[in-house]
Amino acid sequence: MMSSSAPAVRVADLCVERGGRQVLHDVTFEVPRGSIVGLMGPSGCGKTTLMRAIVGVQIVKSGTVTVLGEPAGSPSLRRRVGYATQAPAVYDDLSVTENLRYFAAVLGAPRTDVDRVAAEVGLEAQRDQLVSTLSGGQLGRVNLAVALLGAPELLVLDEPTVGLDPLLRQELWTLFRRLAERGVTLIVSSHVMDEAGRADRLLLMREGRILADGTPRELRAASGADDLEETFLHLISEREEARTS
C-alpha cells in the first residue's frame, strides 16, 4: 500500500450532508503523489466540505476517503497531512513567531521550522508582530505557514492565495511547485480561474459534483475553449443539456 505509485488521496462514492442538505453527491477521484491538484468551482459548490473530508474532520454519510494509504483522519496521519482552512485558524492575540512555535511544538517539528516557514511565506519582517495587527493577506500567510510546519506529505490548502497581490501569488505557486518536486502532494482550492493553469490537474466542481477531472490542457482540448473560464461554462451547459434531454 505504501508504494510510491499508490495515489496520495483516493475518494470513492463520497456523500456528505450538512445542515440537512446533501452537499457532496457520489464524489469519486484520485490524486497522484507529488502532484498539484487544483480544486476549482464557485463558492458553495462543496470544495471546503471535500477538503474537510480529506483531512478527516467532516462527518461523512457514505463512501470512503483514503489518504496516504490510510482512512482519512487516522491518528498516524496527523503529522503527515497539513491543512489550512479558508478562514485563518491562528491566535490573533499572539505574535507570528509565538503562533508558529506553538503549532510546531504540537506537531513535534524542530524549532528551526519556525524560521523556515516564516521565510517561505515571506513573513520574516512581521515575525514579532501581533497577528491581530496584520493585514488580511499577511494573516492568510500565517495560516498557510502553520500548514507547512513539520514535513507534511499532503497539503490541503483552502483558498490560500485569496487577497494576495499578483507577485505574492506567483511566489506562493513557485513554493507549491518546489514542494511538489520534493514529492509533496498538494490539493489547492480556488475560485479564480487564472490560477487553474498552474495546477497539474484540475477538478472542476459544481453543486457537490465533479464536473471534470483532467489536466488543464486536456480540459481545454475537450471543450474546444481557449481559457479555463470558458471551459468551465462549456462543461456546465453540456451537463445541463445532458440532464434535460
Partner: protein, 244 residues
C-alpha cells in the same frame, strides 16, 4: 497524552494572557477590591473572618468559569480547535494544558488576595494558610473545568456569558454562603448536597475556624478534586475531532 504538547499549550495560554495586561490586572485587582469592600461594608472583624474565606473560595471559581468558557468558545469559533484536532493533539493534552495555565493564574490571584486579607484587612485564620490556598486553587480548577464543559453548549459569546449565572448563581445561593444549609427547605438542602460549590464553601469555613486539618476538611478537598476531574472528563467528551 504527551507532556511536551501539554506544556506547550500551557505556555501558549500564558503567552496570550501576557499580551492582555488588562485581563491580568482585572483578574487580580477585582477580587482584591471586592475583599477590601467586604471588610469595610461589614466593618466588624469577626464577620469578615467568617465570610472572607468563603469569598476567597468563590472568586476564583466564578472568574475561571467565565474566562475559560469564553476562551474555549473562541477556540471553537476561531477554528483553532479544529486545527489542533487535525494535529497529534490529545483531548486531555489540551484540557490539562488549560488546567495548568489557569491553575497557575489562580495561585497568583488567590496569593495576592490572601496576602492583602491577612495583612491590611486583618483576616484571622484559625487553620494554616496553605490549606486555604489549596482549596482556592481546586475551586478555580473546578470553575475552569465546568467552564470548559459549558462552552460546548454555547453557540455565541452572549450565551457563554449567561451560562455563568445559570451554572454558578444557583450553586452560590445554595452553598451555605447566604443562609446556613440546615435552615433551608429540606429538598433544597438535599440539592445542595450534590453541588460541588457546597463543599468548597464548607472547606473554607473549616479552614477559617479549625486550627488543624481534620477528616472533614480532607473529605471536602477530595470531593472538590473528584468533581473537578469529572467535569474535565465531561469537557473532554465534548471535544470532537469530526463535526457535521
Amino acid at each position: 497524552m504527551s507532556l511536551a504538547i501539554t506544556l506547550a499549550t500551557t505556555r501558549r495560554i500564558l503567552a496570550q494572557l501576557r499580551h492582555d495586561h488588562r485581563t491580568i490586572a482585572m483578574m487580580v485587582g477585582v477580587p482584591s477590591l471586592l475583599m477590601i469592600l467586604l471588610r469595610y461594608v461589614f466593618d466588624r472583624p469577626e464577620v469578615f473572618d467568617r465570610v472572607g474565606p468563603m469569598l476567597l473560595g468563590l472568586f476564583p471559581f466564578v472568574i475561571m468559569f467565565i474566562v475559560t468558557s469564553v476562551g474555549t468558545l473562541r477556540e471553537r469559533a476561531g477554528g483553532t480547535l479544529e486545527r489542533l484536532m487535525t494535529m497529534p493533539m490529545g483531548r486531555l493534552d489540551l484540557l490539562v494544558g488549560y488546567a495548568l495555565a489557569f491553575g497557575l493564574l489562580a495561585l497568583a490571584q488567590v496569593g495576592v488576595v490572601l496576602a492583602i486579607s491577612l495583612t491590611w484587612l486583618g483576616l484571622d485564620l484559625a487553620g494554616p494558610g496553605w490549606t486555604l490556598l489549596l482549596v482556592a486553587v481546586l475551586d478555580a480548577l473546578l470553575g475552569m473545568a465546568l467552564g470548559l464543559f459549558a462552552s460546548a453548549f454555547a453557540r455565541t459569546e452572549f450565551q457563554a456569558v449567561q451560562f455563568m449565572p445559570a451554572f454558578v448563581l444557583p450553586q452560590a445561593l445554595l452553598c451555605g454562603l447566604i443562609m446556613p444549609r440546615d435552615q433551608m427547605a429540606s429538598w433544597l438542602e438535599a440539592v445542595s448536597d450534590v453541588l460541588p460549590l457546597t463543599y468548597a464553601v464548607d472547606a473554607m469555613q473549616r479552614v477559617s475556624r479549625e486550627p488543624d486539618v481534620g477528616g472533614d476538611l480532607v473529605r471536602d478537598i477530595v470531593i472538590i478534586a473528584v468533581c473537578a476531574v469529572l467535569a474535565l472528563l465531561l469537557a473532554a467528551a465534548t471535544l470532537r475531532r469530526r463535526t457535521p
